[in-house]
C-alpha cells in the first residue's frame, strides 16, 4: 500500500487516488523519420526494468490530475522521493547504496524474489 506525496497537492495521499504511468524521463526522438528501426523500437518498447532504484511517472488521477515523478525502490517499494515534471531526481541508483530496507525484505522473504 502506497502513501504518496503529491508534489502539486503538497500532501501525502492514498494509493487509490493515483495511477502509475511507466518509466520517467523518456524523450521522444526529435526526428522520428530520421530514426533507425533500432532507435525507434528502443524508444517504443525498451524500458529500464531495474531491480532497485527506479524513476517512474505517476498521475494524481483522482486528485489534481497532474503527472509527476517518483523515485522508488522496486524491491522494498520504498518511495525515496517525488518531484515535479521537468525536474531531475536527486536520488539515483548511483547515489544510493543498496537500501537497508530492501535488504531486509530480501532476507525476510527467504528466497530473493
Amino acid at each position: 500500500m502506497f502513501y504518496i506525496y503529491c508534489p502539486y497537492c503538497g500532501e501525502h495521499r492514498e494509493e487509490e487516488e493515483f495511477h502509475p504511468k511507466g518509466q520517467a524521463h523518456i524523450e521522444r526522438p526529435k526526428e522520428p523519420e530520421a530514426c533507425s528501426d533500432e532507435e525507434w523500437g528502443d524508444y517504443l518498447f525498451f524500458r529500464d526494468n531495474p531491480r532497485g532504484v527506479h524513476h517512474e511517472m505517476w498521475v494524481h488521477a483522482v486528485g489534481c490530475r497532474k503527472f509527476f515523478n517518483v523515485t522508488r525502490h522496486t524491491v522494498s517499494y520504498e518511495i525515496l522521493e517525488t518531484y515535479k515534471m521537468g525536474e531531475q531526481p536527486s536520488i539515483t541508483a548511483d547515489s544510493q547504496g543498496p537500501s537497508r530496507e530492501a535488504a531486509a525484505v530480501s532476507q525476510k522473504e527467504g528466497v530473493r524474489a
Binding site: M1, F2, E15, E16, H19, P20, G22, D37, E38, G41, D42, L44, F45, F46, R47, N49, P50, R51, H54, E56, R72, T74, V75, S76, Y77, V105, E109, G110, V111, R112, A113
Partner: protein, 416 residues
C-alpha cells in the same frame, strides 16, 4: 528412477512408506556442462527434461537461486488453455496443450491436469464479436472452441449471475472444453524428477551473478558457488530476466510487475469449470482441495517484491462478487504475489540474443504456466540445434525492432 504405480504404493505401505527414493539428487556443481539452464521454474526444468530425453543432451545443469518452482510456477492460478488469436501464438500454446494431454504418463508423475474447460465471458457486443473472431481463428488452427450465448453459459455455471440486472450482463462466452487446470508444483517436481533421471544436475540455492563472455560468445556463468562453464546457456528466469539480460550487456523489452492471486477457505465442490472475464476483470476456479482460486490483473507499477497492494485485491474480489454473488461471504485464506515479466505485445520472447550461445526464454508475463511443456520443448530443440525451432522463431526479441509483433492482448486480457 523409481517408477510410481498403484502396485508401488501398496508395496511401500508394507514398509510404512519409509523407503521412498528422493525424487532428485542434490549434486555438487561440475566445472563444466554442455548446456546451462538458468532458472528452475517449470519452463527451465521442462527445457532440461526435453534436452536430455529427446535431444540427447544429457550433460545439463539447471541453476536455481531459490528452490524449484519457487518463482511464478508455484504462485500461479494454473489455468491452461490454447485459444489464442494469432497463428504464431496458437501454434505455440496448442503445441503445449498436446503435450499436457499426455504429460502425467510421460513423466510418470500425476500433474493433475484436469480438462474441465475454460469460459471467457463476453459482456458487450464488441466482446462477443471479438470472441467470435477468436473462436473462428482457433477452429481454423485446429483448436477446439465454441461460442456460447448467455443461456449456454448459465447452463454450464448455474451459480453465476447471468441475469439482465447484472452491472455488466453476461452476453455469452467462448468455451474451450479441452482447457482446464493442472497442479503447479507437481509440474515442476515431475519435470525435475524426469530430468534428474536422465542425468541433469539440478543445482538449487545457486544464484547466477554474471556471465562469462569472450568475443561475443558465452562460455560460462558466475555463481555464488563458483564459476561453471558451458558454451550454451538458456535463461528462463521470468520476472528476473531483465536483470540477467543486463549482466549480458543488452536490454529486453520487459517490465516486471507484481501479479497477485488469492485462495479462499475450502468449500464443497461448487464450480467445476474455469470462468474468466476480461471485462468485469477477474477469474476463478475451484481446486480439488475445495478452495476458490482467484486472480485478476497486475499492479500497474514495476516491482520485484513478490507482493502487490490492497486496492488490486479489492478490485479483484469486487469482480468476483459481481459475477458470483453467492461467494460474497466466502472468506479468503491466503494472498500472494509473483513477479511477472510483461512484454509489450503480450507474447513471450524465445530467442537468440546479441551474445552468441546465450538464449532467453521469458516475457510470459501473466500467462506462461499453460505453455510450460511446449515452451520447454521448443526451447530445448533450439538449444540442442543452435537454431530456433520453427514454432519459437516468430518469438524473437528482435521483433521489437522489425515491427513483427504478435498482439495477444485480447486473448491474454485478464492476467491468468
Amino acid at each position: 528412477m523409481q517408477r510410481y504405480s498403484g502396485f508401488g504404493l501398496v508395496k511401500h505401505a508394507l514398509s510404512h512408506h519409509e523407503n521412498w527414493e528422493r525424487q532428485w539428487r542434490n549434486p555438487t556443481p561440475k566445472k563444466q556442462y554442455d548446456v546451462i539452464i538458468v532458472g528452475g521454474g517449470g519452463h527451465g526444468l521442462a527445457t532440461a527434461y526435453y534436452l536430455a530425453k529427446e535431444f540427447g543432451v544429457k550433460n545439463v545443469a539447471v541453476i536455481e537461486k531459490g528452490w524449484l518452482g519457487g518463482g511464478n510456477t508455484a504462485r500461479n492460478t494454473t489455468i491452461v488453455r490454447s485459444n489464442y488469436l494469432w497463428d504464431e501464438a496458437a501454434a505455440l500454446y496448442e503445441h503445449a496443450m498436446k503435450l499436457w494431454e499426455g504429460l502425467s504418463q510421460d513423466l510418470n508423475y500425476n500433474v493433475m491436469f484436469s480438462q474441465r474447460g475454460v469460459l471467457n465471458l463476453g459482456h458487450t457486443l464488441q466482446d462477443m464479436r471479438d470472441i467470435q473472431r477468436r473462436v473462428n481463428a482457433n477452429r481454423l488452427n485446429g483448436i477446439d472452441g465454441e461460442v456460447l450465448d448467455a443461456k449456454g453459459v448459465q447452463e454450464l455455471v448455474p451459480i453465476m449471475d447471468c441475469s439482465k440486472n447484472a452491472r455488466y450482463p453476461v452476453m455469452g462466452a467462448s468455451w474451450q472444453p479441452r482447457a482446464g487446470v493442472a497442479r503447479h508444483d507437481a509440474v515442476a517436481w515431475g519435470y525435475a524428477r524426469g530430468a534428474d533421471a536422465h542425468g541433469v544436475d539440478i543445482l538449487q540455492q545457486t544464484e547466477v551473478t554474471g556471465f562469462k563472455i569472450r568475443d561475443g560468445q558465452i562460455y560460462g556463468v558466475h555463481t555464488n558457488r563458483g564459476d561453471i562453464e558451458a558454451k550454451t546457456v538458456g535463461c528462463v528466469a521470468a520476472g528476473n530476466s531483465s536483470v540477467l539480460a543486463k549482466m549480458g550487456g543488452f536490454n529486453l523489452p520487459l517490465e516486471s510487475h507484481p501479479l497477485q492471486a488469492l485462495v479462499s477457505e475450502p468449500i464443497k465442490p461448487i464450480l467445476d469449470t474455469v470462468v474468466m472475464s476480461n471485462h468485469v476483470h477477474g477469474y476463478i476456479s475451484q481446486s480439488d482441495k475445495g478452495d476458490l482460486v482467484i486472480g485478476a490483473g497486475i499492479d500497474g507499477y514495476n516491482g520485484y517484491g513478490q507482493r502487490g497492494s490492497y486496492p488490486t485485491v479489492e478490485h479483484t474480489l469486487q469482480a468476483i462478487v459481481e459475477m458470483f454473488p453467492i461467494f460474497s461471504r466466502v472468506r479468503m485464506n491466503r494472498q500472494w504475489g509473483g513477479i511477472v515479466d510483461t512484454c509489450p505485445d503480450a507474447c513471450p520472447i524465445i530467442s537468440k540474443t546479441p551474445v552468441k550461445g546465450l538464449y532467453f526464454n521469458c516475457g510470459w508475463g501473466t500467462g506462461g504456466f499453460k505453455a510450460t511443456p511446449g515452451s520447454g520443448h521448443v526451447f530445448a530443440a533450439s538449444l540442442a540445434k543452435g537454431e530456433m525451432h520453427p514454432i519459437a522463431e516468430p518469438f524473437s526479441m528482435f521483433r521489437f525492432h522489425s515491427g513483427a509483433l504478435i498482439d495477444e492482448h485480447g486473448a491474454a486480457g485478464v492476467a491468468h
